[in-house]
Amino acid sequence: MSETHAETAFARKAPVAFVADGQIPASPPPSTAVGPVKWVKDNLFPGPVNTILTLASLAFVALLAYEILPWLIDSSWAPADMSLRGCRAEASGACFAVINERFYQFIFGFYPPEHYWRPTLAFIVVVVSLWPVLFPSAPRKLLILSALSPFICYWLIWGGSIWGPVAVLAAPAVGWLIAAKGGGAITKIVGEDFGPLATIVAAVAGVAIWLLFFLGPVTGALISIAPLALEEVASNRLGGFMLSLIIGLVGIVGSLPLGIALALGRQSKLLIVKAISVGFIETMRGVPLITLLFVASTLLNYFMPPGSNFDLILRVCIMVTLFASAYMAEVIRGGIAALPKGQYEAADAMGLTYWQSMRFIILPQALKISIPNIVSSFIGLFKDTTLVIVIGLLDPLGLSSAIRADQAWNGIVWELYGFIALFFFIFCYGMSRYSQYLERKLRTDHR
């Protein structure tokens, strides 16, 4: 009923028949509908509340600038007297002379200056080998460099004979040889059912035996034949941003695969694998990182074979990696759990094996979902590297304490911490941007 009413009312007011007379020429939209005016109106002043917020924010930014800019502008970089006193004599603002003077120390710690080229070269190697990992457009052949880069960088930074890293590099080769060549024979001995498992055990055992018993003698023999060596640099001379980067990178690169393995282990139907994974994850997450660092600096030595001198930074790297991998495992498990059951069923129904469906179906999607959280973990891990200060390593924060204890720079605060913050911000912001790029690139749902 009401519909007909409306219709008749409409018919009475408006003429029913209508023919357009001619074409209305196209005209540009009014300036209030496009361009900067519209943008400002839509984004800054869309309503009373937003207008107030915008104005308050602008006021805050202005205040901040008013406080900080003079300090930045009236700064001193190179006073005649390189000390806080010298700065104060010259300018009323920031005293960046401290960064000017200690710049290399901030980057390299107490690394011997004549060898600065080695960590620098290592950094270049890292950048080049990350390129193909992060961007698929990079030449694929570079991945070989990526695989070798940990050994190259270790050798460059710590020095010593090249045969040490090469012998360690040989360990996976030993494992692979046993698995590939010995697999058939092992399967014959223990039978079809336990063949694969026994092969893995044999390969792992082979690697362990190689590392424990053959590494030393073989390296020694090779050194006596051809001592290709760089001058050794002791771990306690490493410091600064270099140290943060070493620990952070090792942690990031190591925790991702380990985290994936743990996440799969936790989902596994195999009781023992599951128990080990859960136990590891919960232990690592239940303990503060600082405790683990103390374990690394003191306790871990007791578990090492007597006489072996296991580098402190290496121990810290391992601990940080293990710690981060527990968190990583939970992040990735969340991604795996978010996938609909149908994905597993489709993979199963097509006859894919467990590993195939994990590799092609489940993990690519789970990792994609988890990218923001994974990168958050990475960023957290990278910033946590500053905790190594508690076991006496000279990371940037440790250095700044040392510098502040120096007579010449006693009392300086903002310049040092601002500089360190800037460094961390650059790397963390870089990671954050990369994660956004990756998310955009991998988006295939087009919703």
């Binding site: 489709a346 006859g351 894919l352 195939q356």
Partner: protein, 265 residues
């Protein structure tokens, strides 16, 4: 009886629809429980090669569970299921063999959203059948042409309509060259206008002599294509018959009730 809603207008070509004496699937006294809940009870079913079986029944009667047992997406606890001469048990080798021979199409398509249509279709042939990539892509394009969407090969599933996605899912199964196809309510997540395109694809498959078990409520499809209709209720096969008899002359009162509910009002 009312004219089936989503049926194809064309005549169905029955020349290739031959049922042989060879047993494709043999299910004997099969029982399944979910915990204490007895879902499937004493299922006996022999499917001969070339049969087109439609399974129907009220919601929760165990239709999905039954066909999911055939490729062991669900495990049965008693009785035996023999697919293509291979018994389904805890032996993983048998399982892989059976799954490679049996294609399955799901209600919700279950395409892999991170892979293109073509990659969806070539993944299993390449990794399970070890087909060379190029050959697998040719096969995939062949089947995509068959389901009439070759031009979508390089898109992602999220860019396709529901009907197109389901046809891709069918093509994906066919790429494994299965000898048996299972369909679990392939059209019930689709809008009416898309149901027809999927049913047409299934009819074509039937015309080529594929052995099929379809869980569906498309009774028009059952009448046109099936050689046998199975009615399940409360975990049991209550009645089975050739479609004409089944629809015009149902014996069990449960079947009669069910048919009166879904056909007439």
């Amino acid at each position: 009886m009312a004219e089936p809603a989503h049926m194809t207008e064309r005549e169905i070509d029955r020349s290739q629809m031959k049922i042989s004496d060879e047993v494709a699937i043999d299910i004997r006294k099969m029982n399944k429980w979910y915990g204490d809940f007895h879902v499937l009870r004493d299922i006996n079913l022999t499917v001969y090669r070339g049969e087109r079986i439609v399974v129907c029944g009220p919601s929760g009667s165990g239709k999905s569970t039954l066909i999911r047992c055939v490729n062991r997406l669900e495990e049965h606890q008693a009785g035996e299921i023999i697919v293509d001469g291979t018994e389904l048990n805890s032996d993983l080798k048998n399982l892989d063999k059976v799954r490679a021979e049996v294609g399955m199409v799901f209600q919700h398509f279950n395409l892999f959203p991170h892979l293109t249509i073509l990659e969806n279709c070539t993944l299993a042939p390449i990794w399970v059948r070890k087909t060379p990539k190029k050959e697998a892509e040719e096969t995939a394009m062949h089947f995509l042409r068959k389901v009439k969407i070759p031009e979508q090969a390089h898109k992602y599933p999220g860019q396709l309509s529901g009907g197109q996605q389901q046809r891709v899912a069918i093509a994906r199964s066919l790429c494994m060259k299965p000898r048996i196809m299972l369909f679990d309510e392939p059209t019930s997540a689709l809008d009416p206008e898309m149901i027809k395109e999927v049913l047409d694809t299934m009819i074509e498959l039937a015309e080529e002599g594929m052995t099929m078990i379809c869980v569906t409520h498309e009774m028009g499809f059952a009448q046109a294509v099936a050689n046998r209709v199975i009615f399940m209720d409360a975990g049991q096969i209550v009645e089975q018959n050739e479609p004409k008899e089944f629809f015009t002359n149902p014996k069990s009162p449960r079947t009669q009730l069910f048919l009166s509910q879904i056909l007439g009002h």
